[in-house]
Symmetry: C2
Subunit: 505 residues, 2 copies
């Protein structure tokens, strides 16, 4: 709660246009000192109109004159919620009041989702980032130098702490503990910054109240996210009550420690890798195994993980995959080998560690080990509604209608198999029909060398879920896999079979 | 569950004395390959007789001939539990059956606890480790070379995962995520090893059942630990159910990743520190601030943390303390300073970062920020019994009788102050009397330069809890602090005031 002293300080701020730092609001000053929005920047601000983005806009406005900022609020109307249009008007109105040129963009999330066969949330997210890049390109055209442009997003410390907890429980290394980055370059090279990443949701709400901002309180894209919601509403309050009332700050500190350490270790590993790498034919990477073995064990693991990531394009390496490669490095068997994601394989070739793309007729086995979570949820269970929404997440999970499944297979949860393709495999498609997996692979243009690598959840020859795989060209299926439409859940579904993959490095 | 194939393999093991590795039990082989108990070692094994230590003993016995191990089981009778003596007989009997020379030692935990003014659990733990060292010294006398001696303890993967969760929720850096080390040297330089650290409690129990071992199932020293128990019985099952059934494996992997990374980063920081250090008078450490500033931010933080740890002797640095020093390093104020634990201070002296022991008459302020958890628990609350035991933990917490407090101070939980000493401060001692804090400090031989640094929880001039501080020579109070005896809880206590410090680096 703001004390009398606090509020007199903040009143000072509102009057201050002379850039007197001593009279500035704590939060404004913190953003200023964070250095993510340097003087003379042009800041594209994702303005949903919610408390986070509206607070960030207000802070930038406070900084505007002393910092000579050029603020470009961008409101993306997702045309999803009933009051989407009134929210658009509201955002535009605030910008008008504050004398800022608001750019409004409308996207049709539902059409994009249909076209790209992804969830509307995901369609919205992709389109939103694309729009920020488009605005950045426009600014470039208008003569703003690229290095002055910042895309500012209003993620806060609570988002950060939820991300960390989610990763810790699902499985992560130091990489994942670094959390949401406060600054990064997007694919087009624009700097994305998050100036509120160390500010709590509570501080933001206090700021918004104190400055009489009028945010749209229900504009939140992740309110539909299953795991995230349970973390926010249940796990964190539980941890605060029984273990540590400062658990959020503790997690935030952990991210602040892990971020630079991750960055440093990756740099060290990159240097080591460069020195170990030998000339190799295309689709092959060769490392000096002896040179690798004498390095510090932490560096060995990171070098191996870097190579696998680069080969496979898989950013979410499972721990066991890296361990398997480390084992063949240690192995006394000079021809040990291990399968990697994306149709690659690591092999010992005497004193070389070789990563190569394998032909599909190579002998192979299922690599690594998945943690597949299987749950049957009845309509009266607390998690039922959450899980209905979980399928829309980016997280690799599948939600199927349990009763439909039972009609074909009594106790289907006991019959699930995780395996690669077999002759005669088929998957349910729209209209109650089936498609051969072979045809699916052709339709989806999955390269031949990947086809024997795709993992699937099957009952007999019926495929319920083709697991996410970097070999699937379709972006959504690469991340979510492909779920049988035959057992798709509907409005009236009374029970779900919930499948989820966890444990990433 | 062991399948038919499994059990035929393990029968093979039991018969095998020829060291044929192919017929060896999986767990035996894993211990062998872990390399923590090399061939020709002499292994001092802490044998409580519980499933963990009995399984470890059985595994070492299986390895005995091929590895030429010399197994020395040591049973410590803590003389606490009703059946302590029958457990002693049981352990001795098993060793006789297996033809191993069991050494039995008895300790009087209650007397030690009274003498050292610590909990019986802590007294037991310290005495246990001391006994292992004594046995090691005996072996040395008998002609066993020191480098061949291993002190083997039977901590398992579940212990590891509980430790990690406890640290994550309380606050930790990468250091804490490294968890329980699988190998370390104790103060006398003996190697302590934990060959079962990557084996789950379930695997151990399966092994014990399969091999018809007869463990004492209730011998567990941490069964009385509050936080640990809630993590084991409540938090982990909850995370397994709603987030990830493989959460324990995920945490174990995290420890296995963090361990070597911690070790590597510390090495890097040590090298950097050596290069930055300048000649300094006693009780002072001087670093080249410019040289420090140009390093990678992860290394800067670690160098600073190393120096603070070395100065203060405080191994559990809070995040904010290190951050404060980093801030004065960045500060444009050439004479910024910050207080450190143990009566030290970090100062900018132009281009030097100086750590020096300060005189007690120096102006000072309360450093860092504690997360002090305050809870009032009534007898009918679920946590009541747990909390009664929590006071016996090593964790910095204080449990006071709430009703006794209320008789002196209505709503005492609202009147708590965290501060350093003031004239006239007193603390309750046995017999309903008070002692001046000044006298306490003299009695406890607290060096003068520390006295103004001790933090206390007070109501008015009455001290309820002197917080743990590295400046207190008494080992227990260094870790637990000193709690007022006036409000000590008793059998009939109906409500507790529970105070706990969290958030360590």
């Amino acid at each position: 709660m703001p004390t009398a002293a606090d509020s007199s300080i903040s009143q000072g701020t509102r009057k201050s246009n002379e850039g007197d730092e001593r009279t500035m609001d704590g939060l404004v000053k913190r953003v200023q000192q964070g250095g993510l929005v340097p003087k003379n920047s042009t800041v594209i601000l994702g303005l949903s109109g919610g408390p986070d983005s509206l607070t960030l806009l207000h802070i930038l406005k406070e900084l505007e004159s002393p910092e000579n900022l050029n603020i470009v609020p961008v409101h993306v109307n997702h045309q999803l919620r009933e009051n989407a249009d009134s929210e658009e008007r509201h955002a535009a109105e605030i910008c008008r009041e504050w004398n800022l040129p608001c750019r409004v963009r409308r996207i049709d999330c539902r059409s994009i989702a249909r076209a790209q066969k992804c969830s509307v949330e995901e369609a919205g997210r992709t389109a939103r980032y694309r729009i920020f890049d488009e605005v950045a390109e426009e600014l470039l055209q208008e003569g703003v130098p690229k290095e002055r442009i910042r895309i500012a997003l209003a993620h806060n410390a609570d988002d950060q702490c939820e991300t960390l907890l989610q990763r810790i429980v699902r499985g992560t290394g130091i990489r994942g503990l670094a959390g949401i980055p406060s600054t990064r370059r997007d694919e087009k090279g624009y700097a994305i910054v998050r100036p509120l990443l160390s500010t709590s949701r509570k501080e933001i709400e206090d700021y918004a109240a104190e400055h009489a901002l009028r945010p749209n309180y229900d504009e939140s894209n992740d309110s539909v996210e299953y795991t995230r919601n349970r973390i926010r509403r249940e796990l964190i309050p539980y941890l605060e009550k029984y273990f540590n009332p400062g658990v959020k700050e503790a997690l935030q500190s952990l991210a602040e420690i892990a971020g630079p350490e991750e960055n440093y270790m990756e740099e060290q590993a990159r240097t080591a890798l460069a020195a170990l790498q030998r000339e190799a034919p295309q689709d092959e990477r060769i490392l000096d195994a002896n040179g690798l073995r004498v390095l510090h064990s932490a560096i060995i693991r990171r070098v191996v993980a870097q190579v696998i990531r680069e080969c496979s394009g898989d950013e979410n390496l499972r721990y066991t995959i890296v361990e398997n490669v480390l084992n063949i490095l240690k192995s006394e068997n000079p021809s040990a080998s291990v399968n990697l994601p994306g149709g690659w394989r690591a092999e010992r070739r005497y004193e070389e560690l070789v990563f190569r793309k394998v032909a599909p007729d190579d002998e192979h086995a299922m690599e690594g080990r998945h943690h597949l979570r299987v749950q049957v949820l009845k309509k009266d269970s607390a998690a039922f509604e959450d899980v209905r929404n979980a399928q829309k997440e980016i997280v690799p999970c599948a939600v199927l209608d349990y009763d439909k499944l039972c009609r074909e297979y009594p106790e289907p949860e006991k019959k699930l198999m995780l395996r690669t393709r077999k002759a005669g495999d088929r998957i349910g498609i729209a209209g109650g029909k089936h498609k051969k997996i072979q045809d699916y692979m052709v339709d989806r243009k999955i390269p031949k060398e990947y086809r024997d690598w795709l993992e699937m959840i099957a009952i007999g020859r019926e495929i319920l879920w083709i697991l996410p795989n970097s070999g699937i060209p379709n972006e959504v299926e690469q991340k979510k896999g492909r779920i049988s439409q035959k057992y798709q859940i509907e409005e009236g579904s009374k029970a779900f079979l919930f499948l989820e993959i966890t444990d990433c490095l």
